[in-house]
C-alpha cells in the first residue's frame, strides 16, 4: 500500500533536515516574539467577557445549582423566581429542545438535572434575566423539593480495594446499573513468578489529590442569535468543534447552524475542554429562546464548583527487583475518584493504565485501573491527563527500591529505563528517538546531583536540604482514544501577506507560535507576514481537539504539508520566472526570491505572488494529516497505544524545615526530549510554567469537602496556587532533540509532559532530605503540606 502524500511529505522533510542543527534553522527553534505579545502587554486581547462591551441588549443567564450532593428531584417550583424583577424565564430540563446531555465521552451528564442531582454544582435550573444581579438573586428563589440520598465521597465505599468488585450501595448512576465507569488492565508475562524470584519487593499505598485548574480567566460565554434560526457563540473553550457538537445536540440543530468561536483564552490546561460545552449550551439556549444576545459569566466560585478537576487517585503498587537492581515485575491497582460524571474520565483512565509502569523495561505486569463515580465535582481533563497520577507512585517506588538495594536513584533508573530498540510494557517497539538516557544524564549534570547528594547528607541543624529525581514518558496526542487528524489552511493574499487558519486554539501557552514558525520556515517568509485567525467552527478547518500535547506534532504536520505544497508550486513558478536550473534551486528569503547560484538577480515575494495570481497558480492550500492508527488490546493491555512519546527527567532541590514541616523548592532542573525544539520561548515557558503548576500540585493544592459533599475551598484565598514568593530561585532548562520521523522536523509535544514528573521529583527530594528509611516510605501522598510533612517527621522520628 502506498503511503498517503502527507506522510511522505512529513518524512521527506524530516530526513532532509535530520542532521541539521536547530541553531541552523531560520525560525524553527528560535525565540520568535509571539504573535499576540504586543497586544497582550497593551491589555488589548479580547477574552470572551471583554466582548460584553460590544453587545447591545443582552440577557444574562445564571445557573441555579444543587444544594445536595446526591438527591432525587421530586419537584421544582419556579413561580417565586419568575416574579422577581427583571426575570424573563426560568429554564428547566423540559425547556431543552434537543438532547439534555453534555457528557463528553458517554451520555451520562444532563445539562440541567431532571431526575436527580449527583454533586453540589449540578445545574437544576437556568434563570434568564435583564441583569446578572437579577438573575442571581432570583436564583435563590427557585425551590427544589429534594429527596436526599446517601452521599458517597470516598470511592472505597463503592469499590472493594481487595477484589476491585463493586459493593452494594445506593447507586449514583442508577440508570447505568453500576457506579464503575471503566476498567482497564495490563496483563503481561508472569507476575507471580517474577515476585517469587525477586530478591527485593517493595510495596506501598499512594494517594494523589484533586487539582483545580485555576486559570485566572473564569469561564464566560456569549451567544448571539442568527437570522436563520442558528446561533453564534463566543466561549471559553479549548475545543470549539466539540463545543459545537454539544450545543447542536442540546438545541436539536444541525452542526452548520451552530457557530462557535474561541476568543483569546486566559488559560485552559485541559479545564476548558468540557466546561466550554456546558456554558456555551446554556447561553445558546437563552439566546435562541429570547432572540437576544445571551451572556453567561462565572464568578471564581462558580468556576471552581462548576468545572472538572484533575482526578484524585488511590493506588497500591508492588515492585519486584533482583539483587543487581533489575526490575522484574510490577503489580498495581489504581482507583480513580471520578466524581459525579464521566467527563473525559474513560480516556484519563486509559492514559493512566498505558503509563502505569513508567518509562522502564517491564516484562511482567499486572495492572488494573478502575474509575469509580462519587458525589463530588467530576474529574476531567487536566494537563497530564492520568499520567501524573501514576508517575507519582511509580517514581516514589523507584526511590524506595533504590534505597532497599543500596543504589543511587540515578544508577538504579539508568539500569532499567527504555532506550532505542527496546519494547515498552505493551510490547511496542521503540524504533526512533528515545532521548531518556540523555535527559537523565543532562539533568544530573545541570543539577549537580552527585555533589549535592553527598553534601546534603551531611548537613546539620533544623533546616535540611534534599535532592530528588523523577523521570517519565508521555504518549503524544490522543492515541487509541479516537480519530487522530489535524488540518489547517494557508492563504497567501495578493500583497504577499498570509492568513493562517486552524481549528486548534491557543490556551495561552503559545502552541500556535510553533505552527507559525514551521510555516515561515518552509515558505521562506518572515513570521510577521503571517496572521493567525481565531479558531472558528465556520471559518477554520477542524483540526481535532486542542488537547493531549498534539498541537505541535499534529497541527505542525498539517501546517508542514500545506506549506510544502504551496512552496512546491511557488518554486516551480519562480524557477521559470528567474530561469533557475531547477525548482529546487529557488531560494525564498522573502522579500527576496532568487536562484541559488545567482543571488544578485532577484524578484520580490510580492512579485512572485502577483505572478502566481495572474498565471493561475493557486495561492491557498489545505493541509491535512492523519496519525497512524493506534493499537490496543483490551484484554492484555498490549499494542502500540501512542505513535510517539516525549521523555523527561526532573530534578528538584528542596529545603525542609524539620520544625514546621515547611517545604520550599530552591532549584529546579527540567530536561525534556521533545524531538526538536520548534518554538523555543514556548518550550521554555512550558518547562518553567509546568514546573510551577506541578509544584502547586506537589505542595499545596487539594480540594476539601465537608461530610455532605460541599466543597470548602471555592476561591483563591482558600485554594492556594503558587505565587511569586513560592517560585524556585533557579531553573535549569534543557532540551534533548531525539527526533521523530512522523513529526514536523521531528518535534514532539510538551504541553502535558511539562507537569507529569514534577510532584514525584519534589516528593523524592523531600524524602531524601528526611534521611530516614521509614520516612522514605511515609512520603506516599501529596500535597506535601507542612502538617503532613511534620507528621512524617514525627512518625519517623527524624531529629535535627
Amino acid at each position: 500500500m502506498s503511503k498517503p502524500d502527507y506522510v511522505e511529505i512529513v518524512e521527506e522533510i524530516f530526513y532532509k533536515t535530520k542532521e541539521k542543527k536547530t541553531e541552523e534553522f531560520k525560525y524553527v527553534g528560535k525565540d520568535v516574539v509571539r504573535w499576540d505579545a504586543i497586544s497582550k502587554i497593551s491589555g488589548q486581547p479580547v477574552y470572551t467577557a471583554d466582548l460584553l462591551r460590544f453587545i447591545k441588549n443582552p440577557v444574562f443567564v445564571y445557573s441555579v445549582r444543587a444544594k445536595y450532593a446526591h438527591a432525587r428531584i421530586k419537584g421544582l417550583d419556579v413561580s417565586d423566581a419568575l416574579k422577581y424583577p427583571g426575570v424573563l424565564a426560568v429554564l428547566t430540563a423540559r425547556d431543552i429542545p434537543g438532547i439534555n446531555d453534555v457528557g463528553y465521552v458517554i451520555p451520562d451528564q444532563p445539562l440541567i438535572a431532571d431526575r436527580k442531582v449527583r454533586f453540589i454544582g449540578d445545574t437544576v435550573a437556568l434563570v434568564v434575566a435583564e441583569s446578572l444581579e437579577n438573575a442571581r438573586e432570583a436564583g435563590e428563589l427557585v425551590s427544589v423539593d429534594y429527596e436526599p440520598l446517601k452521599v458517597y465521597l470516598d470511592p472505597l465505599e463503592i469499590i472493594d480495594p481487595e477484589t476491585l468488585q463493586e459493593k452494594p450501595h445506593e447507586l449514583i448512576h442508577d440508570e447505568r446499573g453500576s457506579d464503575i465507569l471503566t476498567r482497564y488492565k495490563i496483563r503481561v508475562g508472569d507476575v507471580e513468578k517474577a515476585f517469587k524470584e525477586a530478591a527485593v519487593v517493595v510495596e506501598n499505598k499512594y494517594e494523589t489529590p484533586f487539582q483545580e485548574h485555576a486559570y485566572i480567566e473564569p469561564e464566560a460565554a456569549i451567544a448571539i442569535p442568527e437570522a436563520d434560526g442558528g446561533v453564534t457563540i463566543y466561549a471559553k473553550t479549548q475545543c470549539p468543534f466539540d463545543t459545537r457538537k454539544a450545543v447542536a445536540n442540546v438545541l436539536g440543530l444541525p452542526f452548520n447552524m451552530v457557530r462557535v468561536i474561541a476568543p483569546a483564552l486566559g488559560g485552559g490546561f485541559g479545564g476548558a475542554e468540557d466546561v466550554g460545552n456546558e456554558i456555551a449550551a446554556k447561553a445558546a439556549l437563552a439566546a435562541i429562546r429570547f432572540k437576544r444576545p445571551a451572556v453567561l459569566l462565572h464568578t471564581r466560585e462558580e468556576s471552581i464548583i462548576g468545572h472538572t478537576k484533575r482526578h484524585r487517585t488511590i493506588s497500591w503498587y508492588r515492585h519486584a527487583a533482583s539483587r543487581d537492581g533489575t526490575l522484574l515485575g510490577v503489580e498495581a491497582k489504581i482507583i480513580l475518584d471520578k466524581g459525579a460524571y464521566a467527563s473525559l474520565g474513560p480516556f484519563v483512565a486509559w492514559r493512566a493504565v498505558v503509563h502505569s509502569t513508567g518509562p522502564y523495561k517491564v516484562r511482567n505486569a499486572k495492572v488494573d485501573v478502575v474509575a469509580v463515580y462519587t458525589n463530588k465535582i467530576p474529574g476531567g481533563a487536566f494537563r497530564g491527563f492520568g499520567n501524573p497520577q501514576v508517575t507519582f507512585p511509580v517514581e516514589r517506588q523507584m526511590d524506595i527500591l533504590a534505597e532497599e538495594l543500596g543504589m543511587d536513584p540515578v544508577e538504579f533508573r539508568l539500569k532499567n529505563i527504555l532506550r532505542n530498540g527496546d519494547r515498552t510494557v505493551h510490547g511496542q517497539l521503540l524504533d526512533h528517538g528515545v532521548g531518556l538516557e540523555e535527559a537523565i544524564k543532562k539533568a544530573v549534570e545541570l543539577s549537580g546531583w552527585y555533589e549535592k547528594r553527598r553534601l546534603y547528607a551531611s548537613l546539620k541543624g533544623p533546616v535540611r536540604r534534599g535532592i530528588g529525581i523523577a523521570i517519565f514518558y508521555h504518549g503524544n496526542s490522543i492515541g487509541a482514544e479516537g480519530a487522530d487528524y489535524s488540518s489547517v489552511s494557508v492563504i497567501i493574499q495578493r500583497d504577499g501577506s498570509i492568513v493562517f487558519r486552524t481549528g486548534l486554539t491557543d490556551m495561552g501557552q503559545g502552541a500556535i507560535q510553533g505552527l507559525i514558525n514551521i510555516l515561515a520556515e518552509v515558505l521562506g517568509v518572515p513570521p510577521h507576514y503571517i496572521k493567525v485567525e481565531l479558531a472558528d467552527t465556520s471559518a477554520t478547518p477542524d483540526a481535532g481537539p486542542t488537547v493531549a500535547s498534539r498541537s505541535t506534532a499534529m497541527g505542525g504536520n498539517a501546517t508542514l504539508v500545506a506549506a510544502y505544497k504551496l512552496r512546491k508550486r511557488l518554486d516551480q513558478l519562480a524557477a521559470s520566472l528567474l530561469g533557475c536550473k531547477s525548482p529546487d534551486d529557488v531560494v525564498i528569503e522573502a522579500p527576496k526570491v532568487y536562484c541559488r547560484d545567482d543571488p544578485s538577480h532577484t524578484i520580490t515575494w510580492r512579485e512572485l505572488v502577483e505572478q502566481a495570481f495572474w498565471k493561475g497558480v493557486p495561492l491557498q492550500e489545505f493541509g491535512y494529516y492523519r496519525a497512524p492508527p493506534a493499537e490496543w488490546d483490551e484484554e492484555t493491555g498490549t499494542g502500540a497505544p501512542y505513535f510517539t512519546y516525549t521523555y523527561g527527567a526532573i530534578v528538584s532541590d528542596v529545603e525542609v524545615d524539620l520544625e514546621t514541616g515547611l517545604v520550599r523548592v530552591k532549584e529546579a532542573t527540567t530536561v525534556y526530549d521533545i524531538g526538536r525544539v520548534v518554538n523555543r520561548t514556548g518550550a521554555e515557558l512550558h518547562a518553567i510554567g509546568g514546573y510551577i503548576q506541578g509544584m502547586g500540585y506537589a505542595l499545596m493544592e487539594d480540594l476539601y469537602y465537608d461530610s455532605e459533599g460541599r466543597l470548602l475551598n471555592t476561591n483563591l484565598s482558600t485554594y492556594h496556587i503558587p505565587t511569586a514568593l513560592d517560585t524556585p530561585e533557579k531553573f535549569n532548562v534543557y532540551f534533548v532533540e531525539a527526533g521523530y520521523y512522523h513529526a514536523p522536523f521531528g518535534a514532539k509535544g510538551l504541553g502535558e509532559p511539562s507537569i507529569v514528573a514534577i510532584a514525584p521529583s519534589i516528593a523524592n527530594a523531600v524524602a531524601n532530605a528526611l534521611r530516614s528509611r521509614e520516612a522514605n516510605k511515609l512520603v506516599s501522598k501529596h500535597p506535601l503540606t507542612p502538617d503532613y510533612v511534620y507528621s512524617i517527621i514525627k512518625k519517623a522520628g527524624v531529629k535535627p
Binding site: A37, G266, P527, H528, E684, A724
Partner: protein
C-alpha cells in the same frame, strides 16, 4: 446614585454611579477599559489592579462612589498615545507573556513598585509581584522583566515609540 468626578488616564469623567458600584465595573462597563480583568472579584488574584492616586488598588474591592476627585491609571494610560512604557517593552523582551490574562496586573504592580524603588532587590520584586497570580507560571520571566524595566527607566528611557516597537518585535526573532 452618587455623583463622582474622576480622572481616568488623564481624561476627566463626571459620573452618576450607584453607591455600591465597583471601580472594576466602572472601568470595564462604563468606560470600556478592558485591560482591567476580573479573575476573582475578591482581592485574591490581582488581575484587576490599577493605580488610584499612584497607589495600587484592587479595583474589584474599590467603590467608585468613594473616588470623587481621584486620579486613576490603568495599563492604557501608562504611556501617551502612540507610545509604550518601558515596563511594557521589558515585558515583551523578557518573553514571559503566556495567556496574558494576568499581564495587566503585573505591569501595574511593577509600575507602582518602580515608582517607589528605583532598583528593587530580587526579594522586593518577589514580594511586590506576589500580589498578582499567574497560573501559567511566568513568574521568573516577570522578575526579569521588572529588572529590565528598572534599567530602562534608570537610563531615562521611559517611553518607546509604539510603531517602532511593533516593527522591532512583532513576530521577530529575539536575540538571546
Amino acid at each position: 446614585m452618587v455623583k463622582v468626578s474622576l480622572t481616568v488616564n488623564g481624561v476627566k469623567y463626571d459620573l452618576d454611579v450607584p453607591p455600591t458600584e465597583r471601580l472594576l465595573d466602572t472601568l470595564r462597563n462604563r468606560l470600556g477599559i478592558s485591560s482591567v480583568k476580573e479573575g476573582c472579584g475578591r482581592g485574591e488574584c490581582g488581575s484587576c489592579i490599577v493605580l488610584v492616586n499612584g497607589n495600587p488598588v484592587h479595583s474589584c474591592l474599590t467603590l467608585t462612589s468613594r473616588l470623587d476627585g481621584a486620579e486613576v491609571t490603568t495599563l492604557e494610560g501608562l504611556a501617551p498615545q502612540g507610545k509604550l512604557h518601558a515596563i511594557q517593552v521589558a515585558f515583551i523582551e523578557a518573553r514571559g507573556v503566556q495567556c496574558g490574562f494576568c499581564t495587566p496586573g503585573f505591569i501595574m504592580i511593577t509600575k507602582a513598585l518602580l515608582d517607589r524603588v528605583k532598583e528593587p532587590s530580587e526579594k522586593e520584586i518577589r514580594r511586590w509581584l506576589s500580589s498578582v497570580l499567574c497560573r501559567c507560571g511566568s513568574y521568573p520571566l516577570y522578575f526579569e522583566a521588572v529588572k529590565r524595566a528598572a534599567k530602562y527607566i534608570k537610563e531615562g528611557k521611559i517611553y518607546f515609540d509604539e510603531k517602532e516597537v511593533r516593527e522591532k518585535y512583532h513576530l521577530k526573532v529575539l536575540a538571546r
